[in-house]
Symmetry: C2
Subunit: 330 residues, 2 copies
DNA sequence: CTATAATATGCAATCGATTTGACGACTTGT
DNA sequence: ACAAGTCGTCAAATCGATTGCATATTATAG
């Protein structure tokens, strides 16, 4: 491998001159400059990043942990993160949860041991178990889709507001007897959306009645079962907010099978804007996350923390936007 | 940051002893060993990876390029790669195509400049433009989903065989007038599957008639249009092989709208086993790629190349497996 | 009780790029 | 023509871990 001394020899100068030419940290005469650059090109020289990192006490690297990279949520986050990071001259070290047996702790230990300049943790599901940060972890950390009580910064989707807007939209589209098919109660994503929905209904003088709530497991199957239960409990239901698009798809399937026309007799609203929502037999109205922007924003946050800025807010909420499709058309 | 000399001082030994304890490359008496380990724990020492990389002339890192990380194909590849890589003591440096404006060349330049021990390139779509490998790139390279004429190793899905098995399956399920809705002709994934399908039909004394072939763009919309065209050209069509699940979903939608019952009157077969295929109103029969295994396999390939093994075969085909669902039930 | 082997530990050079202080070669003003 | 000042370049120290060689220590044999 060609070293800086080789380039120096080729150009007939000292290594420090080569370094100065490349970094521009000292003025170099145009003639030597040209000669050095020519030598660099001829020898195809690339500085050894390990030597640079050692000398500069910084790997110019950001660690990215994703609880599951094959989840769209995480995969699209990373795109935003990468854009910002690379622009700022940092590269991405990758560690997914899967390979650590879903163990954030071990992934963090690993990232810590790599002496990174910053770490971003992205979670596909907003669980609530605490994150075991390694002791001695001294670099800035930003989390995506998980609130961290320990005082780290986090970027979160505004689920409460999403639920609220879901309620408003269903009301505006003419529904009055509105139900909710959610996920497990310990999942903030689900419970927050439910709370938002309830508030929207209350503002309209309505209540989110308990018999109109079914809590499943985010799956398509729980949409099927959930819709059946809801109709049993109240056959007059005319609008359902589902915690995600899988559930909404199941609900639409079930409604169609039971002879209820969507959206004429029943409005169904999903969440997440999965790829299939757009062309489901009844195209599904849903909420789209600005996933790349969330990644981007968290990387910008991390960069300011790395620069030493202290930011007042610890949690940063990002709104989702409603995507109107046929399943809630008036 | 605590250095090896700090640990040495704390334990009352020399740095080299600490190094030997940690690496186990030389025998150390149990007593000193304990003392050193205790010091390491007390000071929370982690070796500086840059210094190690510099000294050992290896970053213990593998570069991963994904043409688009938010594509399931690539995202699941990376999981397999990571599993194998980390087990062998390597970590993953990540570069996605998106952030280089889809430019493989610049991503490769970047990965090259990081002095990696090996590089894996995963492509979401099997295009045919040549890959601009940087000159002086001296580390092993393995590509996924892209044949590379330049003599690099590649791991590819066996599309020809998939198409062949698609044909066999449609025939077995009772169809005889079989059509194909594909992607653009320059895409090997599409054309190979078509060739495989044609061969299966020929073996049965049938031909893949040109009027029964529609080439679209992989989208759901081209499934809708494609199916209409095919039915116009030959109303008696009773089986359609679609190049992917989006197209198959569109074809099923269109068939349902035109009053053709799937699968009773028309069998529809997809490819890729996307998440929605399982619970589409008519669950879609499809082919599932062993995506993680492909990642795993390519990483294993890369590791042997890094060890200096020379492998006879350059292209390694991985079969997909048929997933039988309702859309092709007899 | 010395000689020899075996074992454990330390010293110092090394990996490759960066940077500080120093120095030589010019230019400019008086 | 000389002092003062620029400008460009270089030599050498530095970052932190590893390792070949040397040495100190202990065990074993003669």
């Amino acid at each position: 491998m060609v070293r800086i001394v080789d380039v120096a020899a080729e150009a007939g100068v000292s290594p420090s001159t080569v370094s100065h030419v490349l970094s521009g940290k000292r003025p170099i005469s145009e003639a030597t400059r040209e000669r050095v650059l020519e030598a660099v090109r001829r020898l195809n020289y690339v500085p050894n990043p390990a030597a640079q990192a050692l000398r500069e006490r910084s790997a110019s690297a950001i660690g990215f942990y994703g609880s599951d990279i094959s989840e769209t949520f995480v995969a699209r986050n990373i795109r935003g993160v990468e854009r910002v990071a690379r622009h700022a001259g940092y590269h991405l070290l990758f560690a997914s949860g899967i390979e650590f047996d879903y163990d954030v702790g071990r992934a963090l230990d690993f990232l810590h041991s790599r002496r990174l300049d910053g770490i971003i943790l992205a979670f596909a599901f907003n669980e609530t178990e605490p994150i075991p940060f390694p002791r001695g972890l001294d670099c800035p950390v930003v989390t995506i889709n998980r609130a961290v009580p320990e005082g780290y910064h986090s970027v979160l989707p505004d689920n409460r507001r999403g639920g609220y807007e879901a309620g408003r939209h269903l009301l505006e589209s003419g529904a009055t007897r509105i139900g909710f098919i959610g996920g497990p109660p310990n999942r903030p994503a689900s419970s927050e959306r439910q709370l938002g929905l309830a508030r929207a209904l209350e503002e309209h003088g309505l209540a989110l009645e308990e018999r109109r709530v079914y809590l499943g497991d985010y799956s398509q199957g729980s949409g099927v079962i959930g819709l059946r239960r809801l109709l049993e409990a109240d056959p007059g239901i005319d609008g359902v907010f589902c915690v995600n698009d899988f559930t909404a798809a199941g609900a639409i399937n079930a409604a169609t099978q039971l002879g209820r026309r969507v959206p004429e007799e029943l409005k169904v609203l999903g969440y997440d804007d999965r790829d299939f929502a757009e062309f489901w037999p009844v195209p599904i109205s849903t909420f789209s996350y600005p996933l790349e922007e969330m990644g981007q924003y968290s990387a910008e946050l991390l960069l300011s923390l790395m620069r030493g800025d202290s930011l007042p807010e610890l949690t940063h909420y990002i709104p989702s936007t409603l995507v109107r499709r046929r399943s809630t058309a008036s």
